[in-house]
């Protein structure tokens, strides 16, 4: 008799196995085997970040600050891609993997999480590669506090994952969510802290913008990168609380979504 009592260790092992299986499947189906294949995971965000960096440099966007424009664009765009891609790509996660739920080990949460893992890994790789390249070329300086950069990155990744769980699960309740997400990202983007430092804003407006948790993440990351050259405004406690609440809400929605899904 196989013990039907699931021990925590066995559950973790099972979870890892399923995530690994989904990861391999997702990477091949999304990027294929032709040309760059799996490398697209980070080439795609790299082109995006690199393109914006080039554009901003070309128009010589003057933001009245001592921060080099290249470093500013790289830190800003990587931050945006982190939460935007996690949420954006997880929207279709349930619908396109619904048949997999016939494999009883594969649950709704797995198909969402795996997309987040791919996005986070992709952005992390593109961020590191671009930074290394630009530092090597002398366009960027080495981060003052690499650990804080990592911390800011992880906070944004957490926010992105929590957002992805919530939004992806919400699509199981209403398709309106998918329709609203695209305009929402466009509206959120200019406010999300990629193209400005909170310090440059008028204090009244800054207060409003700092309601957005991702702004705190970008500020943490940039403080790690630039040190005291910039004045930053963030509250780790606030961002962590929002992420925690969103995670719990997302997990709740994912469970509810699992109950109402119709797997044809």
């Amino acid at each position: 008799m196989i013990s039907s009592q699931p021990s925590l260790l066995r559950s973790i092992a099972l979870q890892m196995r399923v995530l690994h299986a989904l990861l391999m499947r997702e990477v091949i189906t999304r990027y294929g085997r032709q040309n760059l294949g799996v490398l697209w995971v980070f080439v795609e965000p790299m082109i995006f970040t690199g393109g914006v960096t080039a554009l901003w440099t070309a128009v010589g966007m003057n933001h009245g600050s001592s921060i080099p424009i290249v470093a500013f664009a790289v830190t800003g765009y990587s931050s945006v891609l982190l939460w935007r891609n996690c949420a954006g790509l997880s929207i279709g996660a349930i619908q396109s993997n619904i048949a997999l739920l016939h494999h009883r080990n594969v649950r709704v949460i797995d198909v969402i999480l795996v997309r987040c893992v791919i996005e986070i890994a992709g952005v992390a790789a593109s961020f590191s590669i671009l930074s290394t390249l630009f530092i090597f070329l002398g366009w960027m300086t080495y981060p003052i506090d690499p650990l804080q950069v990592v911390f800011g990155f992880l906070m944004l990744a957490w926010f992105g994952t929590a957002l992805a769980l919530t939004i992806a699960a919400a699509t199981a309740f209403s398709h309106v969510v998918e329709k609203l997400w695209a305009p929402a990202t466009y509206l959120l983007f200019p406010l999300a802290g990629a193209a400005f430092m909170a310090d440059w804003l008028p204090p009244k407006f800054r207060e409003v913008v700092l309601w957005l948790p991702m702004v705190h993440g970008v500020e943490i990351l940039r403080e790690g990168f630039f040190g005291n050259v910039v004045r930053t405004h963030y509250d780790v406690g606030y961002m962590a609380s929002i992420c925690m609440l969103l995670t719990l809400f997302g997990l709740y929605l994912v469970r509810e979504a699992g109950l109402r899904i119709e797997a044809k």
Binding site: M1, L101, H102, K264
Partner: protein, 217 residues
């Protein structure tokens, strides 16, 4: 053992909730089998989705004390960009089985030749079904879920399925749903009829057969 206790499944429609499965109970021991007969729309596939775990019951419980397969020969979970081999790897990873020793069996059974390493999008229906069936056989389960409508193919394919499933794995339990009473008579030792949301049990397959013939309306 797998048991269903007081299972109900309701779907929301624009005309209010529709109950497809209404307080269903049954129990299947290791190594035994049962056939479930039902007309089109009786809820057979819904029941299969409950048993496989793809959907959750609205109320009631499913107790699984043996491993239960995904629906036999179910090809809907294939990704068309993946090759046959990729799909084998995926299924093996999900169930924690090494795929390498299984390649010869799957290649032999599916007769896909070079197409085993080509994307599923280039397969014919028959090739997809053969691959799906072979993958079902690649992972060992205590109990197989069989939706007869999914296992379509020519006589030779049926014969080979028969050998794999009912001869080589005759010690396993299975649950077979079909609209075809003769299939149940051929393969099952007990039978139920799914009718108007209720699962009606019978003492023998013959009684189920007779009952089923008279619900034509």
């Amino acid at each position: 053992m797998i048991a269903i206790e007081n299972l109900c499944k309701t779907y929301d429609t624009r005309f209010g909730p529709r109950t497809i499965l209404d307080n269903i109970n049954f129990r299947l021991e290791r190594g035994r089998n049962i056939g479930i007969l039902g007309r089109n729309g009786a809820g057979k596939s819904t029941l299969i989705r409950m048993l496989s775990g793809a959907e959750r019951p609205t109320s009631g419980h499913i107790i699984r004390e043996m491993s239960v397969s995904w629906p036999l020969a179910f090809g809907g979970a294939f990704h068309t960009h993946l090759t046959g081999l990729d799909n084998l790897k995926f299924v093996c990873r999900v169930y924690g089985v090494d795929y390498k020793p299984l390649i010869p069996f799957v290649e032999d059974f599916t007769e896909l030749g070079i197409y085993f390493r080509e994307p599923v999008s280039s397969y014919s229906m028959g090739m997809v079904t053969r691959l799906a069936f072979a993958l079902s056989m690649a992972i060992e389960f205590d109990c197989f879920l069989i939706d007869e409508a999914m296992v379509v193919g020519d006589a030779r394919f049926h014969e080979r399925c028969h050998v794999e499933l009912f001869q080589k794995r005759k010690d396993r339990a299975f649950i077979l749903v079909t609209h075809d009473a003769n299939v149940i008579k051929l393969y099952c030792e007990s039978a139920c009829v799914l009718h108007k949301g209720k699962l009606v049990p019978f003492a023998s397959v013959d009684e189920a057969y007779d009952f089923y013939q008279h619900i034509d309306e």
